[in-house]
């Protein structure tokens, strides 16, 4: 699978969980890997590229971290949107 297509799948996976479940990195790796039949390492690499450019972001609450779709506030603060 092309990396862009895989990243779309990852984004969709995160979007489906939005507001329902806080996803750990490994939830995404495991979930997308199983659903798409792609090795976990490839999902991890694709996901981290998304985090590096702000398509996904790390969040933190109650001592635990998760990965989610960035808010507009976050994107604005990072200068990724105006």
């Amino acid at each position: 699978m092309e990396i862009a297509e895989l990243q779309n799948k990852i984004y969709a996976f995160c979007e489906a969980a939005k507001g329902k479940k806080k996803l750990k990195e490994k939830d995404i790796i495991k979930g997308v890997s199983e659903a798409e039949g792609v090795p976990g390492d490839e999902v991890k690499k694709a996901m981290r590229l998304m985090i590096d450019v702000g398509k996904l972001m790390y969040s933190y609450g109650g001592g635990a971290s998760s990965v989610e779709i960035p808010s507009e506030e976050y994107l604005r603060e990072k200068g990724l949107i105006k």
Binding site: R48, I51, M57, Y58, Y60, G62, G63, A64, S65, Y74
Partner: protein, 410 residues
Amino acid sequence: MAGKKYNTPLIDDLEKGPWPSFVTEMKKAAKKSEMSNDALGHLEKCYATKKGYWKHGGIVGVLGYGGGVIGRYSELGDEFPGVAHFHTVRINQPSAFFYTGKALKEICDIWDKYGSGLTNVHGSTGDLVLLGTKTEHLENIFAEYSSRGWDLGGSGSALRTPSCCVGPARCEWSNYDTLDLTYNLTQEFQDELHRPSFSYKFKIKSSGCACDCVAALARADLSIIGTWKGDIKIDQAEVKNYAKTMDIKAEIVDMCPTQCISYDGKEMKINNKECSRCMHCITKMTKALRPSGERGATLCMGSKAPIVVGSLLSWVIVPFIKLEAPYTELKDLLRKIWDWWDENGKPRERIGEVIEIKGMRSFLEAIGVAPQPQQVKEPRKDPFMFYTDEDMAGFKAKEAEEKKTGKYKF
């Protein structure tokens, strides 16, 4: 520079007494920083109303990193605008906290530029903690520190910045190079440190001996405690010297936790087979006693403060491991430990809690460590004997044979 002057009778009380006071330091910072000034007024209000007004967490951080910045906001942002955002930044400390004056000045100059100027050197995790900045400064702070060779520390569900005692840099009792190990593990596990992927936090602390100057045994998920395999060498002439000023029976013999020392007024003897390498006698009689033989460490797992369940102390899993660069055995073991924790832990469960729930037996089996007597934490506990299906089939066959021949006794 500071605007409003706050009346702070309650926190002024904390300046009294013989010890240095953080309030005094905050007042100094308040003279040149509005954030520190508001932090002072905010603290007084917390004391007066007996309420905390801090909110914690959220989405602050630097791009690509999941840790190193802890978002803090005050509910009283209108009253104390300087602390409306008051985020904490963790800087990865050098092994055993060795700094040059130049390095410290560099850290503080950057912090004065973007933050409150308040620091916590060091936080209990080990990082150099910078207290109080605004969201819009975070990327600049990170850019300035990283351009000078500094990096952020760990926070959230990640590997926290490994920390260690002063080790062989200044201590003759260190059984391995704690500084090198800490540096090496920090470099090896950059991904685990900056990109949170665990169920919860994971701390590694390394002490060169059982004196445990970083309190690893009480507060690290992996406590690496230096130890040795040989006998304790005794200089009887020095023992005689100590006897002139010390009650050896009361201070050494009677305080030995395994009662392996004897002293008849002339000669000291140690039954080394019973010695638990606790360091008590050695630290009391430094000139007379000395470890010998092979050096390394004991690996203990699972200590934590009380959050989900009560506090735990670390538990021996590997009684002795040689610790020499590149530390391959330890790193491989750590990866197996994290895999097991990932499979079995729920969110916010520390590894010590998961071991308590799932059992040491299943943990040891998963990480490939053989059960050993040193792992028995207290009497009358499961000794972690593993019976495989093959073992059970063998027992049953033997039992059937004995029943047939009349030798069977229940």
